[in-house]
């Protein structure tokens, strides 16, 4: 059994023993919450989880091998807002234990070898800069090279402002690689978790052969606040939640966390990479 950290990494965990569910206000014993995959047993509220915890839930035991772990961000714009970008990255590293907002590597899911990329919202809001772009692109390129499916779990506020237009261009870079998977008949499964927004949603996250989402995950192109301010009208109930996006036809299923792995495994088993055509006319 794993222990909870004495000081929690999630803002939703005010005490080291108990957590109040933000949805139903139930006081939950942390050990019980972890055993339940960080889902409230009473109301099914899905707490945010970090990339490493997510990999543990999805990859077959002991199969995950991290790649490109040593890629780190440059500071191409010498960006300074309330603090310099370099300091912001350093702080995020300490907070999340990751080197940037995505962890990538090879793994098996339900016995199927895959390239796996999992975003971490704890690292500057899961924002996509050059490192995220480079790591996911490399994962897609490895998937193409060894004809293995690509599975990407998104959790992101969008493109990283501190890298300016370079961050924006990562959308095109990743999609260039992902698009080649489609041409080669290699499956790509996209999983949207709370929250998936902005440039991540408006690029690779929306275009899986299969798109799954966790219950009530916030999924939207522009933040509800932006929409609210721009339009000045009241938004429909459940606006930009996974169930709303499902109803409007942009995702295949809303899948509770407890069933996510088996569901991904189902699609991986059904959608096999197209065999290479050797051109022998057989």
């Amino acid at each position: 059994m794993r222990l909870r950290m004495p000081f929690a990494r999630r803002r939703e965990l005010p005490s080291h023993l108990w957590t109040q569910c933000p949805d139903c206000a139930e006081m939950l014993f942390n050990k019980q919450l972890v055993r339940n995959m960080n889902v409230c047993p009473k109301c099914e509220h899905h707490f945010k989880i970090g990339a490493r915890e997510r990999i543990e839930l999805l990859a077959d035991k002991g199969t995950f091998e991290e790649r490109d772990a040593d890629l780190t961000s440059g500071d191409p714009l010498s960006f300074v807002d309330s603090k310099p970008y370099r300091e912001r990255i350093e702080a995020a590293r300490i907070k999340s234990g990751a080197t940037d907002a995505v962890i990538t590597g090879t793994a098996a899911v339900g016995g199927v070898p895959v390239e796996l990329a999992v975003m971490d919202f704890d690292f500057i809001g899961g924002s996509m800069g050059s490192v995220v772009g480079e790591k996911i692109t490399r994962a897609a390129e490895r998937a193409l090279a060894r004809r293995a499916p690509l599975v990407v779990v998104s959790a992101s506020g969008g493109a990283r402002m501190q890298e300016g237009t370079l961050a924006l261009m990562q959308m095109a870079k990743i999609l260039s690689a992902v698009s080649r998977l489609g041409d080669a008949g290699i499956p790509y499964i996209s999983v949207l978790t709370d929250p998936t927004t902005g440039g991540v949603l408006a690029s690779f996250a929306s275009l899986g052969d299969v798109v799954l989402a966790e219950p009530k995950a916030y999924i939207g192109f522009s933040g509800a606040r932006v929409t609210d301010q721009t339009i000045g009208e009241r938004l429909p109930a459940g606006f930009q939640r996974a169930e709303f996006v499902l109803e409007h036809g942009f995702i295949d299923q809303v899948v509770p966390r407890a069933q996510l792995k088996e569901r991904i495994a189902f699609f991986l088993a059904a959608l096999r990479p197209k065999p290479v055509d050797l051109g022998w006319g057989l």
Partner: protein, 326 residues
């Protein structure tokens, strides 16, 4: 502020992937600015560029299309929902040869802006664009895109109809489109809504246009908690034409008349025509496989990452995770 090129070079020598090999692929004459040193004192501040890029009387897509091309026939609708007036497109001729042209359309008056939704497309606008991209591919016509939008429309109906999916699809289709593409940033290149028209073999920008991940006002509101810092945000985001050239996001700048494009639409259009015609001619000679490989590489190399040479370093874990054996 430090010279970004110096920063890029420094990172490249750290053993990381070189961010860019420059614009070696682009053969340009006098019609393009490919070195910011050539701008000299004509290089204006980021905020001045923001104001010029948004100037109400700046030439917008239709004004440019009418002057650069001949016999433009507009084509309407996405065949799924409706015609989005914020994106215009169709077939026109350049030097007697047909091309497909698609652009975002702002208005030159408040009334026209309301009709054009201030150049902010809905999903159906992007789906119309995708339809025209496919048309270009099917009939082997080159594609010219014109970028001029504050961003994709952020309203609830746009969300309901899949704004994110429409933009993503538009980007994806461009990455693999089997015909030459030249994109020109005319005014405002607002985030993903602009990039949906921006994946091209050659990406050019008018000298005083801007292209950014977020509006300066938006960045200021988030990073400095006040929209009043927009000027500072504009500077930090490095969104003006010369910055984009230095960061290799655009391949060349198209000169504007001295007081800005809004002062002389004819001259601006003539400059755009002089800039894109030789590029289309050059791209037309390439085999499709080569074109697609170079387009992939063009976007593949954008970004700055530091990758230590030699043995990969394990990610550092916080001490408390080590203590707890996690």
């Amino acid at each position: 502020m430090r010279d970004p090129l110096a920063a890029l070079r420094e990172i490249a020598t750290l053993g990381g992937r070189s961010p860019s090999e420059g614009n070696g692929h682009l053969v340009a004459g006098d019609e393009l600015i490919t070195d910011t040193a050539a701008l000299g004192s004509a290089r204006i501040s980021a905020w001045e560029a923001v104001k010029l890029a948004r100037e109400l009387h700046r030439p917008h897509s239709i004004e440019i299309i009418e002057r650069v091309f001949t016999r433009f026939q507009e084509m309407h609708g996405d065949r799924l929902f409706r015609d989005d007036p914020a994106i215009v497109g169709g077939i026109a001729e350049l030097a007697g040869r047909p091309v497909v042209v698609v652009g975002q359309q702002k208005g030159a008056s408040t009334e026209e802006n309301i009709q054009r939704n201030f150049g902010m497309p809905h999903p159906e606008g992007y789906r119309k664009a995708i339809r025209l991209y496919r048309l270009a591919e099917r009939f082997q016509l080159p594609l010219v895109t014109l970028i001029d939008t504050p961003g994709a429309f952020p309203g609830p109906e746009a969300e309901e109809r899949g704004q994110a999916e429409a933009i993503a699809k538009s980007i994806e289709v461009m990455t693999g489109l089997r015909t030459p593409i030249v994109a020109v940033v005319l005014g405002e290149g607002g985030s993903g809504g602009a990039l949906a028209l921006g994946v091209a073999d050659v990406v050019l920008s008018l000298q005083n246009a801007i292209y950014s991940v977020i509006s300066p006002e938006g960045a200021a509101a988030i990073l400095w908690r006040t929209a009043g810092e927009a000027e500072r945000a504009a500077r930090s985001l490095r969104l003006a034409g010369p910055d984009l050239l230095e960061l290799r996001i655009v391949d060349g700048l198209i000169p504007e008349p001295p007081a800005g494009a809004h002062t002389d639409h004819d001259r601006t259009a003539a400059n755009i025509k002089a800039a894109i015609a030789p590029q289309l001619e050059r791209l037309a000679r390439k085999a499709t496989a080569e074109l697609l490989a170079e387009r992939y590489e063009r976007f593949r190399r954008i970004g700055v990452v530091v990758e230590p040479a030699g043995e990969p370093v394990a990610p550092r874990r916080p001490w408390w995770k080590k203590v707890l054996g996690r």
